[in-house]
C-alpha cells in the first residue's frame, strides 16, 4: 500500500490526489520504483491493528481472520470481513476509513 504524495494520472482523465492510499496493482515493481524515485508516492509502514486507538478489542476479532496489521485489513474484501465477523459491510467500510486515517508515512531517506 502506498500514500500518494503528488497527483497521479491513471489515464482516461482519472486522477488520484495527494493523501490518498493506493495499491498500484496495475504497475510492476519497476513502475512503482520510478514513482517512488520521483517522489510521487511513498510506502506506508503498517502498524499492528491492536495499537490503534479504540482497536484493542476489535483487533483480536480481526486478527482471527489472519489480518494482523493495517495493510492486511485494508486489503481484505469488505464482504469477507463482514460475513466472517457478523457485521454489516457498512461497518467494515467505516472501520477501514477510520484505520486509513492512522496510517503512518515513512520519511524519505534522501534528506
Amino acid at each position: 500500500m502506498y500514500r500518494v504524495l503528488k497527483a497521479l494520472d491513471t489515464g482516461g482523465g482519472r486522477r488520484i490526489y495527494p493523501g490518498s492510499l493506493v495499491w498500484l496493482d496495475w504497475l510492476d515493481e519497476a513502475g512503482i520504483g520510478i514513482l517512488k524515485t520521483v517522489g510521487a508516492i511513498c510506502e506506508v509502514h503498517p502498524p499492528p491493528l491492536s495499537i490503534l486507538p479504540g482497536w484493542k478489542r476489535r483487533s483480536k476479532r480481526v486478527e482471527k481472520l489472519g489480518l494482523l496489521d493495517v495493510v492486511a485489513f485494508m486489503g481484505a474484501t469488505t464482504e469477507m470481513v463482514a460475513e466472517a465477523l457478523g457485521v454489516k459491510p457498512n461497518t467494515v467500510d467505516r472501520w477501514k476509513h477510520e484505520v486509513s486515517e492512522w496510517l503512518i508515512v515513512k520519511e524519505s531517506n534522501n534528506g
Partner: protein
Amino acid sequence: MAQTTTAVNACDAGIWLDNGTLTPTDIGGSANNVDMNFDQEIGEFRTFGSRWPGRLECGKDANFTLNVVYSSAADEAFDILKTWYFASSPGNRTLSVYIPDKNVGSDHFQAECKIEGLSWTAGSDEAGPIMVTVNLLPDGEATLSTLAT
C-alpha cells in the same frame, strides 16, 4: 550539493491534443516546440518605516505556444489546429504535455484550452517546411500530475 543526475531533455516529450471528435491525439510527430508559461499575480506594498515590500498572491494563469509543421495529412497537428480555429464554435480542447516522455513517472501538464491564434509566414524563397505558431490559453486550471500508467 552534488550535481543532479536526473536532468531531463524534451527529445521524447509527448504532445497530445483533442481532435475534432475530442479524442486525445498524439501530435508530437508534427510538432517540434512548445513554450509553456505559468504565471502568478503578485501585488506589492510597502508601509512607512519598512524598507522591504510585502507581497500578496492572487490569480494564476498560463499560456502555451506550439510550433507545428504545416502538413497535409488528416489528424496531424496542423489539420487539427486549423479545423479547430475555423470551426463556427471552436470551443475547448484538452492539451497534454508529457515530460520527459509518456511513461510512468513523467510529469503530465494538462489544460482545457481555447485557441487564441495561428500564424505563419509563407515565403517564396524558403525551401523548408512552413512552421506554424499556435497560441493556446487555458479555460480554467492548468494542472500537473505524475503519470502512473
